[in-house]
């Protein structure tokens, strides 16, 4: 008996470096994994391979120029990142966007959320070894990107919004495109949804795997769909409404199952709610200026801000916060970004204990990592 214990103590664990070049680490995540056979005993995520220090770059730029670095943080949901930055910047500079611009931003942010979740769903399928749903998701996403292209000429890194409004007004053609999309997308979404959940193997791979207790989630400052899948009904859009979210009617999807499947279901329900928001917003969108005349485009570099502002928005990954400190100059004194993926990733140290390798991959898939945002 004693001998056996000693043997176990001295048993060597295999150390495996998954990544930074690995097919399922969504970019450049490196997981230092200690294995006992197939069982993962310890996970240590090592990040920083995509670090560009966007915070410093933003400090060196004018307020309006920093926007493109936010586009490149969560590069699959650039619109949401822009909303997040402008929430803070406009409060600091006292340039509120006009009503119409706010509605446009809500529409774009929700379309961006759908696009980001579609990317996630497809990549999650690939993690589990499902090849086809990836393409179904990307075909739908491409429709959203086509709308973005029509609006601003760019697919992913849109750089569409700017301080004081949006860069261009949306015309009838774009409204028609968005309406068409919201009409046909729900059916396609159900198709994709069924491709996942009507599969027994998919369900057995996700049910009861990677259980994240709500108190642990709060301890690790997890936000977004992951927190809601742990049974905490919390969404910045409801808790601290920004833009015109208080005038819109939508629900916060919550699941009390806490596992991988819960996170999957919450994200799909979020897409349905986003469609609902877009449908309402496209009807309610008022006429008027789309740009605050206070922030003339040519005068933008002279915008000066003073004070400290922390603005939170709900990005597809979670609570995206921007903390801006101005000292009265034309450049921000300090920019600090609260990236949700970073906090969500840190919880893998807790979730990845005593699971199989296959489950570790599934768990890291449900976290929804985008490395532009984790490393910044």
């Amino acid at each position: 008996m004693i001998q056996e214990e000693q043997k176990n103590e001295h048993r060597e664990w295999t150390e495996l470096n998954m990544g930074p070049q690995h097919p399922s680490t969504h970019g450049v995540l490196r997981l230092k994994v200690k294995l006992d056979g197939e069982t993962v005993k310890e996970v240590e995520p090592i990040i920083g391979y995509l670090h560009r220090n966007a915070e410093k770059i933003c400090e060196l730029d004018y307020y309006c120029d920093s926007l493109i670095y936010f586009d490149r943080m969560d590069y699959v949901a650039a619109m949401n990142m822009e909303v997040g930055y402008l929430e803070a910047a406009e409060k600091l500079l006292n340039i509120p966007p006009p009503e119409r611009a706010q509605w446009i931003r809500v529409i774009m942010a929700e379309l961006g959320r759908i696009a980001a979740h579609l990317v996630w769903a497809g990549a999650f399928g690939l993690d589990l070894g499902m090849l086809s749903p990836f393409f179904y998701c990307f075909v739908q996403r491409e429709k959203i990107l086509r709308i973005f292209t029509e609006i601003c000429g760019s697919r992913q890194e849109t750089n569409y919004m700017s301080i004081g409004g949006v860069y261009q007004d949306i015309n009838e053609n774009i409204i028609y495109m968005i309406e068409e999309f919201t009409k046909e997308f729900p059916d396609k979404l159900e198709e994709i949804f069924n491709a996942f959940v009507k599969n027994d193997i998919f369900m057995s791979r996700n049910k009861g795997i990677g259980i994240l207790e709500p108190d642990v989630a709060i301890q690790y400052a997890v936000t977004g769909p992951m927190l809601r899948a742990s049974g905490i009904e919390y969404d910045v859009r409801k808790a601290e409404p920004y833009l015109v979210y208080d005038k819109l009617n939508f629900d916060i999807p919550v699941s009390y199952k806490k596992d991988n499947l819960a996170r999957f279901l919450v994200r799909f329900e979020e897409m349905r709610q986003s469609v609902r928001i877009v449908k309402q917003a496209i009807k309610k969108i008022p006429d008027g200026p789309y740009f605050n005349p206070k922030a003339k485009k040519s005068l933008m570099i002279r915008l000066r801000g003073e004070g400290e502002v922390y603005a939170r928005t709900e990005s597809p990954k979670g609570e995206f916060g921007v903390y801006l400190v101005g000292d009265g100059g034309v450049k921000p004194y300090r920019v600090r970004v609260r990236s949700p993926s970073l906090r969500n990733l840190s919880v893998i140290r807790h979730l990845g204990k005593d699971v199989l390798i296959a489950d570790l991959i599934a768990i890291s898939g449900t976290i929804d990592l985008v490395f532009g945002e984790v490393d910044r």
Binding site: L35, D127, G129, L131, R205, A358
Partner: protein
Amino acid sequence: MDVLTRLAHFFAPLTHYVAYILAYLFESIFLVIFVTIVLVFMIYLFRKYMARVQLRIGPNRVGKFGLLQLMADGLKLAGKESILPKGRDDLPFRIAPLIVFIGLVMSFAILPYGDFYWIGSLTITHSNVSVILLFAAIAIMPIGEILAGVSSRNKYAILGALRGVAKDVSFEVPMMISVIALVMMASARTSEPLNLSDLVSSQIIPFGIPEVIGLLVFFISMIARASYSPFDMGESDSELVSGHSTEYSGMRFGMFYMGLFGSIFLSSMMVSLLYLGGYNGPFSSDAGFVYLLIKTVVLVLIAFTVWLSVPRIRIDRFVNMGWKYLLPISIINLIIAGIITLGVGL
């Protein structure tokens, strides 16, 4: 008259033994060419089919309808540098892909193919125990995979090889039990039930109809043997990068790739031979090979569809499934086969 005898007649001026040796040699070369062509065709078909399922177009640039895409890919693979990792175990690392490929070709050499109009029977091996030979030949391929995994000195490769072993152990017992059931059923009609040709020709109705359970068990086992999704735990690309073939590149990797696609074709052919009546068909017996090919392609497409639509099963669940479900089911199937055989015998 089969091809082998005709070749032997062609070389008849030489002595009997030399003629037969030459005949076997030429038919083997013919077979290798045939296997390669079939594989190229299958890979093309698979890529087109996969593209259609995934709302894509698929290969369409090289040649008409992209038919020559595989040629281009093969040339590219042949022209690529085959990188040898530093910590490898040299000899096993080099011969592992060869073992996989030779195992594949050997298995194809043992299968009976039926008649094909004026060409005649394409079968090479005429043995009384070809069923046993066949299962011995397909058991060679995992050896190559395990060798590759262990000799690469790569943790992913070793994990892949370990998974492969665990997988093989858990499905091969039920697979062999369902084959025993077949042999039992065939023994009621023929004196040589271990001869594949006799086993096939004794299927007046395909064995798959009285032995649906056996067919299912065998087909699942064969998909697992070919390590196709959902049973591709061994080379699961999202977990273990590429399993045992992680460190391979160039033509050596190409051999593993051919082994992967070849074994699904081989598996489907075996299922159609053993359970679906093989080259027996409703009309002309000259077209036996065509019947076999049609049955095989249908099975391959079923396997492809499964691959495209399901996620990977977890290794522990698969081992569970093998021992707790497949094994008892295959034993039940054996009992059913026994009852049927007795009934036929009476």
